[in-house]
Amino acid sequence: MKTASERSGLKETDFSFCFPGVFSRRVRYCIPLLLLVGIIAVMVWAKGSGPFKRIELSLKTADGGAVNCLVVLPKPVGKHPVVIYLQGVGGSLLGSGNELRQFAELGLAAVGLEYDQTNQSVFDGQFTALYQYLQQQSWAQSNATAWVGVSLGAQRTLTFAVRHPELQPQLLVRLGGGGVKELDEQFDVQSSQAKHSTLNTKYQTSNGSGQLTLPDAPKPFAAGKSQLTNWIHCSVLLVHGEQDEVFPVADVRRLAEWLRSQGVVVEAHILPGLSHGFGEDREVVMRAVAEYCAARLALPDYTDHLIGCQLNLADRERFNQAMQRAGQRRRELWQAVTAAREPERDTMMNVIGGLEDYDLAHISAAQLKKLVYNAWRARRKYPWCRDTPMKIFERFVANPRTYEEPLEDWSAAYGPTLSRVVKYCHTTSEASDAVWQWMRVRAMEHPTSEMEQPKILSLIRGDCKDFSVAFTGLARTEGLPVRPAWTFWPTIGNDHYWNEVWSVEERRWHAFDTSALNRSYDDAHWMTWVPKSVIQVPTGERGAWNAVADQRWESLTNSIGLFYPSGHVLVRVLDDGKLASGRRVGVQVWLGNGMGGKQADSIKFWEPEVFTIAAAITDQKGEARLVLGQSAEQPYRIFLDARGEPDWQWLAVRSNRTYTLTLETGNHKPFDIKATPPQLSWLKDEIHETR
């Protein structure tokens, strides 16, 4: 019986018979090498696909010592605010990984330090070396820094801040920290100067912890106030466990009050039932601290490293805000940005800047890329898109969102067909009509049947809103800048949706009732058939998708002034006789008691009710501006949006007039919904004249 090696003619020591005979000797030796290369490739890939970038470094201090640091950067790496995290007694750099990760998850560059836990002077040298290192890093925003110290780390950072006021951060966060010697000394100096010392200080430095007993606040240390403000000029957050066994909570309260009395911005949070180290809730506390830092520090700047980026500061800010909101999806969105070239890349960044939260969380890089590239294809190809202003193009052609419809790939489903439909169109009018005709024919073909495909065509069988959404999606596929429009008919008691198309020939928005199957693009006289109060259109910004449903009218643009006889209303809000900013002013139309109801032989009868149709927020001057359609049969009710029975007024609006109203916050004025509002028959003739 021959063995395998004998059959193959190889020696026993030659293990190559283990390999299939078809492999030559060279190939056999290549296999382990290939495996090794494969393993290395997988490791590199795994490292690259991780959510964070880790940098381990050793810094030399001025006195010749060294300190180990760990930097955790979120991906994509931009220019991030920096959080320097210092662990407590007995903690180590490696043990701080979870905390650093929590900061990095929120877009912050988290830096850990293996600092000297026994000597403050050595720590000062180490911290200064780290500070100097951070000043030179391209990923660090050196003017947006927070120091987060836990227990001993909190003591060390506060002492350093007092000793080196020129290096202080924007934010100082102290978790389970107490008072420090330097503050006591400062306090004593001030106290002796003021000859009014009541501060009794006990401080133990043997184990890095201590107790600070501060006087009952407020204390009149006016002489020392400016001096201390020079020492601590950053905001301070104090977080402390109620059951802290190392630093009593009363000390922290007194410290907070004392700092506050010295002009320092301090927030103190005492967490009920928690001990010094916060126990099981430590990660929750760290997450809340990370959120606080992210909210108080500047946004990460992802555009900083992009070469050739043409975005202005406002657009960069929009993009960075969207990236910050995107959370886990940041990398996906960034992938789309880096895969694009100019000018598509700038458009993509502006599109991302306005995406709704749902879209930020669900849209893929491939979808985004396809969307923007398709929009630019249309811009290069069609005259109605080529001359459209870039802002309108980015918000109403490249934007995937109309209202709350699912994200669908419109261009893949209908792009080739619609390209053929608009092939011989030369103007906005022709292209809009061609797309509308195409949609209209299919809507008439399948008026009620339920389609299997959950795509756009399933919308073309619903109400006016569905038609409007469908037209928006279809038209944008072929580069037509389109936005949906919502209006309210006060005399009928109903609302209606249509579209507005940006006409490059007219250089303005053109109303197009796409949901009516018998009104073409140039059929404009329908606009004045029925009295209208407002026409609300999305701005292309985040939050507009459900603004109509939520009645967040201030998130929309009111375009009635472009199409319908309208008047301007200026509302001033007074609070104790002074103009108040940030107040919401609402507009309602009143229905019932014969308006569009049974007496008018209307199809629908509405019970007496008021509908809110517009709103505005007062600006810095305490003024809110509104444009309202000419009043029909009832005046508008302008009211202050506040609890209780806020001030309100009736207002009858005539075309081309400006009205000024004043509402007072202290003026309580009940409104009886069942009372008959004033009748305005005098406006009917004017409406007829405008037709």
Partner: protein, 401 residues
């Protein structure tokens, strides 16, 4: 010896043999005949294009449109391109021009048939679908692909003959025994069966949920005991499931079933279906139903050792707060998966995802009339534990000095 030499010839040598002594390619067909055939093909294709454009845009004066002429030029170049490609690929051994002409003729003939059918239907008063001519646009592509497949088969035969067939070797047909034939047939049938099963279990869940996939999925992918729950889910989600793959619905069903008895020994079916199985928590403008897998993967390992809903809820809310911040600037209309991915929401949204997280681990949960999360403790509904910290940015919540 000759045979042996022939058999050891490389493919390159054989290709070189096809070329003449001075390197020129041997053309079989006459040059002018080829030009004639290609010219006819170009004319037919141009006719097809013009016909198509006229059908779609009957009121447009096509000859005045530059877009018409530009696209026409592009389209008529296709027959020439095909001819060039196959001539070069076969070093002139394949005469592709007749095939191209036949394909062009079929396209033209198809135009005539399609138009005649539409006219016939119109005469009979039968309306045609508005998509009738859209379907027709695929015809030319289908014929072009067919023609190229024929040419590719010819090319493959031609070079297989030169590269594989050794000169002079006689092919002896092998006799197939009944046993072998039977075994091979059985293997074939089994193989097909295996592939079908793989297709059903791997492919079907990847399809979008619709009427057909829901029925087939219920038949093939759902255990008998879970069919009732499947029906409940399909009915509850309704048309909203159509945005998702069938796998999302099946994951929801199986993961909920996995957690069915962890916290409750005897949970009645309506409570299970409404407050554990159902992915719908409240009414949203754009509901998200596919959150269970993501949440289950995160929360289940941390509470799998527990049996008391209250204790597990404490852990769930703590873990959830570690991942999701509460920030009023985030809209309250975000779905569970959006909140999970963004890592932020407002208070209302936090309770929504809290309920989802509780359901994902098998705790019956719902929103109360104040939109706060509450859990079923086995006997009655009670408020779920609240997170320790809402936000340090919101001083109302935590004691602030």
């Amino acid at each position: 010896m000759t045979t042996s030499t022939e058999s050891t010839k490389s493919l390159f040598d054989r290709l070189r043999d096809l070329v003449g002594p001075r390197g020129q390619v041997r053309l079989r067909s006459h040059r002018w005949f080829t030009v004639l055939l290609l010219g006819a093909s170009v004319l037919l294709v141009a006719g097809h294009y013009t016909f198509g454009e006229w059908i779609f845009h009957p009121k447009v004066a096509l000859w005045r449109e530059s877009a018409f002429w530009w696209d026409c030029c592009k389209l008529v170049s296709w027959p020439v391109c095909f001819w060039l490609f196959w001539t070069m690929a076969s070093l002139g051994k394949i005469t592709s021009a007749p095939v191209i002409l036949v394909a062009a003729a079929i396209i033209g003939l198809g135009d005539w048939v399609w138009y005649s059918v539409s006219e016939y239907l119109r005469d009979r008063g039968i309306g045609i679908s508005p998509d009738y001519w859209d379907w027709w646009t695929s015809w030319a592509q289908a014929v072009a692909i067919g023609g190229n497949v024929i040419l590719a088969i010819r090319w493959f035969r031609l070079f297989r003959f030169y590269s594989i067939q050794p000169a002079g070797k006689e092919i002896v047909p092998q006799r197939l025994s009944w046993l072998k034939a039977g075994l091979e047939s059985a293997v074939l049938l089994l193989g097909i069966g295996v592939w079908l099963l793989i297709l059903v279990h791997v492919g079907l869940p990847q399809l979008k949920a619709n009427g057909w996939t829901l029925v087939e999925g219920r038949e093939w992918l759902v255990r008998g005991a879970l069919k009732e729950d499947f029906d409940f889910l399909a009915a509850r989600g309704g048309s909203q499931w159509r945005r998702y793959r069938l796998a999302a619905l099946l994951d929801n069903l199986k993961l909920a079933d996995l957690q069915r008895h962890q916290f409750y020994a005897n949970l009645d079916e309506p409570t299970y279906q409404n407050y554990i199985l159902s992915p719908q928590i409240d009414v949203l403008p754009l509901p998200e139903l596919d959150w269970r897998l993501a949440l289950w993967e995160y929360f289940h390992p941390r509470v799998c050792h527990l049996n008391a809903p209250g204790a597990a809820a404490h852990i769930v809310v703590r873990l959830l707060r570690e991942r999701v911040g509460i920030e009023p600037t985030f809209g309250s209309d975000a779905g569970v998966l959006t909140i999970w991915r963004e890592g932020f929401t407002d208070e209302k949204g936090f309770d929504r995802i809290y309920v989802a997280a509780l359901r994902s681990v098998g705790i019956a949960a719902r929103l109360d009339d104040k939109a706060r999360a509450e859990i079923w403790n086995g006997t009655n509904w009670e408020s779920a534990p609240r997170p320790l910290i809402t936000s340090f940015c919101n001083p109302k919540v935590i004691e602030s000095n």
